[in-house]
């Protein structure tokens, strides 16, 4: 696929609720003159069912990649951490387990699809770091030194673990997210307590109260680092850390006040895209404090 085109898989949660991620991703790519090609006929990646119904999960994830291959893509960019994880994990297992592959392909054939393994799922962080390139990010968008603004990166579990499955970064000491934030002129905290912890989202289907407490554990530790902003690329993590931050505060009976943004929103701001086109009005955390500092 050429450099100025990218095939995107939106998943479920972004196009049905987390519109800010879709808006900011679309406007950033438009500004960068990179054409988004939509994956046609796509459905859920199966992520929520990897525990309860593993075969359903494998089938749905394989289907996304089979569709991509059928539509002529060799790479696909899922915007969601969960989707990314579903795809790379399924790719990993189907390479190892030919019997399972056969079984899945029998199901896919009903839609005239076949999983051949020729599609590489790319994470958003990986895309900007390794495909768009950290160098061109720096050359093009390091417009001024913003190192007085300190940012913490939240990778999210599914972006980095399990280490057995090849991911875009080291599972125990990932650094690429911080690199692409610093490339825009900001400074980052390379490490903070519970940096690699979960946002709690996978618990929301069945144990929401516990899920919110997991999110609170993360947010409290971020708050203590005193950063100006917490950044993520995953809409499940964003839902927990931003959209539900007020509910989390109530459970802990403590003001958290951690400003949270998508990386695409942050990049969009640096590119000078208007706030509404980045969906910044959907951020429920107090980002105005950050925005004032950003505008200087």
């Amino acid at each position: 696929m050429s450099k100025n085109k990218i095939a995107i898989y939106w998943g479920c949660f972004t196009p049905t609720k987390q519109y800010a991620l879709e808006l900011s991703t679309r406007s950033v790519f438009e500004t960068l003159s990179i054409e988004i090609i939509e994956l046609k006929n796509s459905a859920c990646c199966g992520y929520p069912y990897r525990g309860v119904k593993p075969k359903l999960w494998t089938y749905l994830a394989a289907r996304v990649m089979a569709l991509a291959e059928d539509q002529g893509f060799d790479r696909i960019l899922p915007v969601c951490n969960g989707c990314y994880n579903s795809l790379i994990k399924t790719k990993f297992y189907l390479e190892k387990d030919k019997k399972l592959l056969e079984e899945i392909n029998d199901l896919l054939r009903e839609e005239n699809l076949e999983y051949k393994g020729g599609v590489k799922p790319i994470h958003v962080i990986e895309y900007f770091h390794d495909y768009f390139g950290i160098k061109s990010l720096k050359e093009k968008f390091f417009s001024r030194d913003r190192s007085n603004i300190r940012i913490a990166a939240h990778y999210g579990c599914d972006a980095i673990r399990p280490g057995e499955v090849p991911h875009f970064d080291n599972s125990r000491n990932p650094q690429k997210f911080e690199n692409i934030i610093e490339a825009l002129g900001f400074s980052t905290v390379r490490d903070y307590p519970r940096k690699l912890d979960c946002c709690g989202a996978p618990l929301m289907a069945i144990n929401p109260e516990l899920g919110l407490r997991v999110s609170g554990l993360k947010l409290k530790n971020v708050k203590q680092t005193g950063v100006d902003l917490l950044v993520t690329t995953c809409e499940y993590c964003f839902e927990m850390l931003d959209t539900r931050q007020e509910s989390v505060s109530k459970i802990f009976n403590e003001e958290l006040n951690v400003p949270v943004m998508y990386y695409q929103q942050l990049l969009g701001l640096v590119l000078g895209i208007p706030e509404k086109e980045l969906g910044l009005n959907f951020n429920m955390s107090p980002i105005h404090v950050f925005l004032e500092k950003f505008r200087g």
């Binding site: 679309r26 525990g51 119904k53 593993p54 673990r161 057995e164």
Partner: protein
């Protein structure tokens, strides 16, 4: 119903990979790194693995413990034996869904996929000034249901055990 170690580790091998809970020597590193163990006194991944290895799977399947995992995989990262408590717990969830019943929350979501292709209903969302937006008012393209939804839906219902 009695389940022995075999179905659990078989599910693990079939779907989750190559790890073996029998490799666990109860060092407790998994529990030291687990955010849920930090928050919940009764949740200790190493104990869950011990119960599996002692063949006490029924007790686990009938308890709420196995539904407390947030699936973050930190335990596997901490495990020196790669015995994979996370994968053991996921396999237990799969067994519980099969033998005791799929939790209603998942059942609804799976039924939704069979109907629309997606796990969730398309929502109207309020922004921070409480103004409501949907895809159309935001200028986002219409979300299309897969043209092959009938075929897809049938497979999803079959694999998800939802009729």
């Amino acid at each position: 119903m009695i389940f022995t170690i075999k179905p659990a580790s078989q599910v693990i091998r079939d779907f989750i990979g190559l790890q073996d809970p029998n490799m666990c020597f109860q060092c407790r590193r998994c529990s030291s790194g687990c955010p849920i163990a930090f928050l919940e006194k009764d949740y200790r991944p190493h104990k869950i693995v011990a119960f599996v290895n002692l063949d006490r799977i029924n007790e686990l399947l009938n308890s709420q413990i196995i539904w407390k995992c947030t699936r973050c995989y930190k335990c596997l990262e901490y495990c020196p034996q790669r015995a994979a408590p996370s994968d053991v717990i996921l396999a237990l969830q799969a067994l519980a869904a099969e033998k005791i019943g799929l939790p209603a929350e998942y059942r609804e979501m799976i039924a939704k996929i069979a109907e629309t292709g997606f796990s969730f209903e398309i929502m109207q969302v309020a922004d921070n000034e409480l103004e409501l937006y949907d895809r159309e008012s935001l200028g986002l393209p219409k979300l299309e249901t897969p043209t092959t939804i009938e075929i897809l839906g049938n497979i999803v219902k079959k694999l998800g055990g939802v009729e």
